[in-house]
C-alpha cells in the first residue's frame, strides 16, 4: 500500500516544503480545492454562517434540506451578554415535493411562522446549494416579507459550490452592509468599531475592556455579542479595527467606501501583537491622553504577564509547533506567539490564507519550515512526523488526528473553552499548550516520544 508520502501532483503547488526565496510568491492559494482531496475546508454557506451567526438577536433561517441547519446548530462558541435566540436552529427543511414544485411558498410560510410568535428586528435567509437550482426567487420572497412585516429580511446567497468559504464571508459582509444601511445622514462620534471577532469564550469582552482602559470608545462590534441595534450604530465610528482579516477586510473596505471609515488591521493574539495593536489604535486616535494611557496599560500588562509566561518557557522552549488554522492572519499571530515562548514553528498552514499572508509567514518561519494551503490529513500527518512536531494548533477535525499521532493539541477554533485573546489569552494559551504537551497522560501512554 502506498503511504502518505505521496502528494497529489495538483497539490504540490500549494505546499512549500523546501527552503525557497522566502517571499512566498510560489505558493498556490485562494483557489478551488482539488476534486478527490480530503480537504479540511468548508463551503460558501459555512463562511456566511460563521460570520453572521453571532448576531444574537437576529433570526437565521436556513433555506434548504435539513443538513445545513443541523450542522451549524449552536456550534460556534460565540457568547452572548443578552439574547440567546441565535442558538436555536431554524430551517425550511425542504422535502422532495418542495424540490419539485419549488420552495418559495414554504419559505414565505416559515417567515410567517417566525413572525407569529416572535418579533425579530432582522431575519437572515441563507439560500443553500439547491435553492438557486430549483429556481426559488429568494430575493422576491425576502422583499415581500420585508414589506409585509416592516423589518429587514435579508437574503444571504450561500450556495456551497459558488466559491470557497471566503466567498461566504463576502456574502455575509453584503448582508451586514444591507442591515446597517442608515435611514438618515450619519453624525460621527468618537469611537471605533471592532471587526472580525466572534466573542469565542468571551474574547470580544476582553478586547472591549482593554479599549475602555485606554479610553477608546467602542461603537459597535462585528459580530461577536452583536445586536442589530448596535450594528446599526457602526457608520458613526471614526475608525475600524480588523481582527480577523480573512473574513472582515472586505467589510472594512466597504465601510470605508460608504461611510468614510478608515481601518487598521489588529491582532490580539499574543503579548507582542496585543501591545502593538493597542499602541497603533492609540496613535490612530491622535489623542495624547489615549496614547499615554495605552503606553501605561500595555507596559503594566506586559510587566504583569511576561514574568508569568517566563515560567512556562522552561517547559515550552525548544519545542516544535505545527499550525493548521482557518485564516492566514491567525497563523501569523500564532507563529509570533510561539516565538515568544522560544518555540519553533515547523509546519504552518491555513484553509483560506491569501498570498500576502503566506508571504509574511514565509518571512517569519525558518527556511526549512513547511507552509501549506488547504491541506489534507495525510499531508498534515506527513509533515508533522517529518518535522517532529510536538504540538498541533488547529480545529475540530485536526484534534483526533494529532492525538492519534501522539502529538499534543490546542483548539484555536470554535471549541476553545478559554479566551485566547489579549494578555489573559496569552497566559491561557501558554497554559493550554503546556498542559497538552506535558499532561501526565503522556507518561501513562508512554512511547509518545517515538513519533
Amino acid at each position: 500500500m502506498k503511504t502518505a508520502n505521496d502528494i497529489l501532483p495538483e497539490r504540490s503547488q500549494s505546499i512549500r516544503s523546501t527552503g525557497c526565496s522566502g517571499d512566498g510568491s510560489g505558493i498556490k492559494c485562494e483557489s478551488e480545492s482539488v476534486s478527490g482531496a480530503i480537504s479540511q475546508r468548508a463551503c460558501v454557506y459555512c463562511g456566511a454562517r460563521v460570520v453572521l451567526n453571532p448576531i444574537t438577536d437576529a433570526f437565521h433561517i436556513v433555506h434548504g434540506p435539513i443538513g445545513c441547519a443541523s450542522y451549524t446548530w449552536d456550534i460556534r462558541g460565540s457568547l452572548s451578554s443578552g439574547e440567546e435566540g441565535y442558538r436555536n436552529s431554524y430551517s425550511t427543511d425542504l422535502r422532495e415535493k418542495d424540490v419539485i414544485f419549488g420552495g418559495e411558498k414554504k419559505l414565505a410560510a416559515a417567515i410567517d411562522e417566525v413572525m407569529e410568535t416572535h418579533s425579530p428586528k432582522v431575519i437572515f435567509i441563507y439560500a443553500t446549494c439547491i435553492v438557486g437550482v430549483i429556481g426559488d426567487d429568494v430575493d422576491a420572497v425576502c422583499r415581500q416579507a420585508s414589506e409585509k412585516y416592516n423589518i429587514k429580511v435579508i437574503p444571504v446567497k450561500s450556495s456551497g459550490f459558488s466559491g470557497t468559504k471566503k466567498t461566504g464571508y463576502k456574502m455575509a459582509c453584503h448582508a451586514i452592509m444591507d442591515l446597517i444601511e442608515p435611514e438618515e445622514a450619519v453624525e460621527k462620534v468618537d469611537g471605533v468599531n471592532i471587526l472580525g471577532d466572534f466573542n469565542l469564550a468571551g474574547e470580544m469582552w476582553i478586547m472591549k475592556s482593554y479599549l475602555r482602559r485606554i479610553g477608546v470608545n467602542v461603537v459597535s462590534h462585528f459580530t461577536g455579542d452583536a445586536t442589530v441595534d448596535n450594528l446599526r450604530e457602526a457608520p458613526k465610528a471614526k475608525l475600524n479595527l480588523v481582527q480577523c482579516a480573512g473574513s472582515m477586510t472586505y467589510l472594512a473596505k466597504k465601510l470605508e467606501e460608504t461611510y468614510d471609515i478608515p481601518f487598521i488591521k489588529v491582532s490580539f493574539f499574543g503579548v507582542t501583537d496585543t501591545s502593538d495593536s493597542l499602541m497603533r489604535i492609540a496613535y490612530a486616535t491622535g489623542d495624547k491622553d489615549v496614547i499615554a494611557r495605552a503606553k501605561a496599560f500595555t507596559q503594566e500588562e506586559s510587566n504583569r504577564v511576561l514574568p508569568l509566561l517566563e515560567k512556562y518557557k522552561k517547559n515550552l522552549g525548544g519545542k516544535k509547533a505545527s499550525i493548521y488554522v482557518g485564516g492566514g492572519f491567525k497563523a501569523i499571530s500564532l507563529i509570533r506567539q510561539f516565538n515568544e515562548f522560544g518555540m519553533k514553528t515547523v509546519m504552518v498552514g491555513s484553509q483560506t490564507g491569501s498570498k500576502d499572508d503566506y508571504e509574511l509567514i514565509g518571512n517569519l518561519v525558518d527556511e526549512d519550515a513547511v507552509i501549506l494551503d488547504d491541506a489534507n490529513p495525510a499531508e498534515l500527518e506527513k509533515f508533522m512526523r517529518e518535522k517532529g512536531a510536538d504540538i498541533l494548533v488547529g480545529g475540530v477535525k485536526e484534534r483526533p488526528l494529532a492525538y492519534k499521532l501522539g502529538v499534543a493539541f490546542c483548539d484555536h477554533n470554535h471549541e476553545r473553552k478559554h479566551p485566547l485573546a489579549g494578555y489573559e489569552g496569552a497566559l491561557n494559551f501558554a497554559s493550554e499548550i503546556n498542559l497538552s504537551m506535558n499532561s501526565p497522560v503522556w507518561t501513562t501512554i508512554g512511547g509518545a516520544e517515538d513519533v
Binding site: 500500500m1 502518505a4 505521496d6 497529489l8 478551488e32 480545492s33 482539488v34 476534486s35 478527490g36 482531496a37 480530503i38 480537504s39 475546508r41 463551503c43 460558501v44 454557506y45 459555512c46 433561517i61 434540506p65 435539513i66 443538513g67 445545513c68 441547519a69 443541523s70 451549524t72 449552536d74 440567546e84 442558538r87 436555536n88 436552529s89 431554524y90 425550511t92 427543511d93 425542504l94 422532495e96 424540490v99 411558498k105 410560510a109 416559515a110 411562522e113 407569529e116 410568535t117 446549494c129 439547491i130 437550482v133 456551497g160 459550490f161 459558488s162 466559491g163 495525510a378 500527518e381 475540530v396 477535525k397 484534534r399 492525538y403 492519534k404 499521532l405 501522539g406 517515538d450 513519533v451
Partner: protein, 456 residues
C-alpha cells in the same frame, strides 16, 4: 437562559426548529466508514463533506475521513461528471483505498447527475482489484438513517454475489449504532456459536486505539471479500427495522438470502429475540455466560424498581434506538410520555404505540417527523422526570431542570459513550445504571436534609 420556547403550541407547517435528525449523506458516510479500506466520497459541494466529517468527529472523537467532488459553479451547471472522474483518479492515486463509496448530495441529485452512468464510464480505469460503489442519498428525502440504509444497500447491490455455494454464515446488519454496540452484537453472536459477517462494522474504525500512528484505514470494518460473500449467507438478520429492513430485502432480492427483521436489541425482550434468532440459526444452546448476564439484569431491575417505577420520561433521537429505549424504559416500569424522532415515517409511530399499548400505558404522545422544539413545548405544558437522548436535548434539560440521560446520536458533549454498548443485556445494565443514577442524583440534590440517606 436558553429558554426561547413558548408554552403555547403553535401549528407549524413550514418551519423546522431544533431538528431531531440530519441529512442522508452523513448516514451514508458513517456506513461507508464501516467497510475496511474504504474511502467515503461525497459527490457535492465541499461543505457537505466537511460538515459530515466534523459531525462524526465530534460524536466519536475520532478522525472521520472522506473525500469530496468539490463542486464549483461549472459543475452545478454542466453536471459533476468530470469532478467525479478527477476525484476517483486522485483518490486511487494518492489515498490508495480498496474501495470508494460514493454518495450523492442534495445538489448532485437536483441537477440530475447520473452516478450509474459516470461510474460505468469510468469502470475500465478503476485499478485492478479496486472497487467503486455508489448510492443515491438526496438530502431532502428521509434522514441520516435513510442514508445509512441506502449506503448499505449500495454495497450489497454492487458487490454481493450468490455463487451457488453457501458459506454457512449469517449476515448481520446492525442499525445506526455506535461501534461499542456493534462489538456487543458480535460478542453475543459469537457466544451463540454463529459464524457471521457484519455489514457495516465501524468497530475498530471509529473506536480505533491510539497507536502514535495515523491510520487512514484502521484495522476494523467489513472487507470487500466479506461483502461479496454476503450473497452466499444462509440468512440475514436485520437489527433495527427502520434502518435495516431495506438492505436485508435488497440482499434477498439480489442473492436469494432470506432474512428476518428484528428490533434493535435494546432491553430484555428485544435482546431475548436476538438471542433466540441466533439460537434458531446455530442450534447452539444459550451458554451460561449469557444466561448469567440476563439473570444479573433481572436482579438489577428488581433491586432498583422502586426508583424507576412510574417515573415519566421523554425519549428522542433515531427511530430504531428510540423504540429500543422505549421498550427498556417500559420494562423497568417507567412511563415514556413523549416518544419522538425527527426521521419521517409512520412505521415508527405504529411500533412505538404498540410498545406503549403492550405495557398498558395511555396518554403518551408519539410522533415521527417531529423536532426538539415541539417536544420542549409539550414538556413545558406537562413535564417529565427524565429525558433520554442526544446532546441537543441539553438546552431543554437546563431550561426545565430535568436530568438528561445521554444515549443515541449525536452525543457531542461527553466522552467514552461510543465505546460502551446500550444493546444486549450488558447494554441494558448500562442504560439502567445511567437512568437510575440520573434519577437518584436528582433525589439526593433535591431532598430535604432529613430525607437525605446514605443507603438507597
Amino acid at each position: 437562559m436558553l429558554n426561547y420556547t413558548s408554552k403555547e403550541v403553535a401549528e407549524r407547517s413550514a418551519l423546522r426548529i431544533n431538528p431531531a435528525k440530519t441529512c442522508q449523506p452523513v448516514g451514508a458516510m458513517y456506513a461507508a466508514l464501516g467497510v475496511y479500506g474504504c474511502m467515503p466520497h461525497s459527490h457535492g459541494s465541499q461543505g457537505c463533506c466537511s460538515y459530515h466529517r466534523t459531525f462524526l468527529t465530534r460524536h466519536f472523537k475520532d478522525p472521520a475521513i472522506a473525500a469530496s467532488s468539490s463542486f464549483t459553479e461549472g459543475a452545478s451547471v454542466f453536471g459533476g461528471g468530470s469532478n467525479l472522474k478527477t476525484a476517483m483518479r486522485n483518490i486511487f492515486d494518492i489515498y490508495d483505498p480498496k474501495i470508494i463509496a460514493v454518495h450523492t448530495t442534495c445538489l448532485s441529485e437536483t441537477i440530475g447527475d447520473d452516478l450509474n452512468a459516470y461510474i460505468t464510464d469510468y469502470e475500465s480505469k478503476i485499478p485492478e482489484g479496486k472497487y467503486v460503489v455508489h448510492t443515491n442519498t438526496p438530502s431532502y428525502v428521509g434522514s441520516h438513517i435513510t442514508g445509512y440504509s441506502n449506503m448499505i444497500a449500495g454495497f450489497i447491490k454492487y458487490l454481493s454475489e450468490n455463487t451457488g455455494k453457501k458459506n454457512g454464515k449469517m449476515a448481520l446488519i446492525p442499525g445506526f449504532v455506535n461501534p461499542g454496540d456493534m462489538r456487543e452484537m458480535k460478542r453475543i453472536a459469537k457466544l451463540m456459536g454463529v459464524d457471521y459477517t457484519m455489514l457495516p462494522d465501524t468497530s475498530g474504525v471509529m473506536d480505533a486505539p491510539m497507536t502514535t500512528h495515523y491510520e487512514m484505514y484502521p484495522k476494523g470494518g467489513t472487507t470487500v471479500e466479506e461483502i461479496q460473500d454476503l450473497g452466499n449467507c444462509e440468512m440475514s438478520l436485520a437489527l433495527g427495522e427502520i434502518a435495516c429492513d431495506m438492505p436485508a430485502d435488497v440482499l434477498e432480492k439480489k442473492c436469494k438470502v432470506p432474512y428476518e427483521t428484528l428490533a434493535l436489541p435494546i432491553g430484555v425482550e428485544y435482546t431475548d429475540k436476538y438471542i433466540m434468532a441466533l439460537n434458531e440459526f446455530s442450534k447452539t444452546e444459550v451458554p451460561y455466560a449469557l444466561e448469567e448476564e440476563r439473570g444479573q439484569l433481572m436482579d438489577i431491575m428488581l433491586d432498583s424498581n422502586q426508583y424507576s417505577n412510574g417515573k415519566t420520561c421523554a425519549i428522542y433521537g433515531d427511530p430504531d434506538t428510540v423504540l429500543g429505549i422505549t421498550q427498556l424504559a417500559c420494562e423497568i416500569g417507567m412511563v415514556p410520555k413523549y416518544v419522538i424522532t425527527g426521521t419521517p415515517g409512520s412505521l415508527f409511530e405504529k411500533r412505538a404505540n404498540a410498545i406503549l399499548e403492550k405495557f398498558g400505558i395511555e396518554g403518551s404522545t408519539v410522533k415521527a417527523n417531529s423536532d426538539l422544539f415541539e417536544m420542549h413545548q409539550w414538556i413545558k405544558n406537562d413535564p417529565v422526570d427524565v429525558m433520554i437522548g442526544g446532546s441537543y436535548g441539553k438546552a431543554i434539560a437546563r431550561a426545565e431542570d430535568i436530568p438528561l440521560v445521554r444515549a443515541g446520536f449525536p452525543i457531542l458533549d461527553r466522552y467514552v459513550h461510543s465505546y460502551m454498548p446500550i444493546v444486549g443485556y450488558k447494554g441494558a445494565m448500562r442504560l439502567v445504571e445511567l437512568i437510575l443514577t440520573a434519577i437518584m442524583d436528582r433525589m439526593d440534590r433535591d431532598c430535604a436534609d432529613e430525607d437525605f440517606e446514605v443507603v438507597m
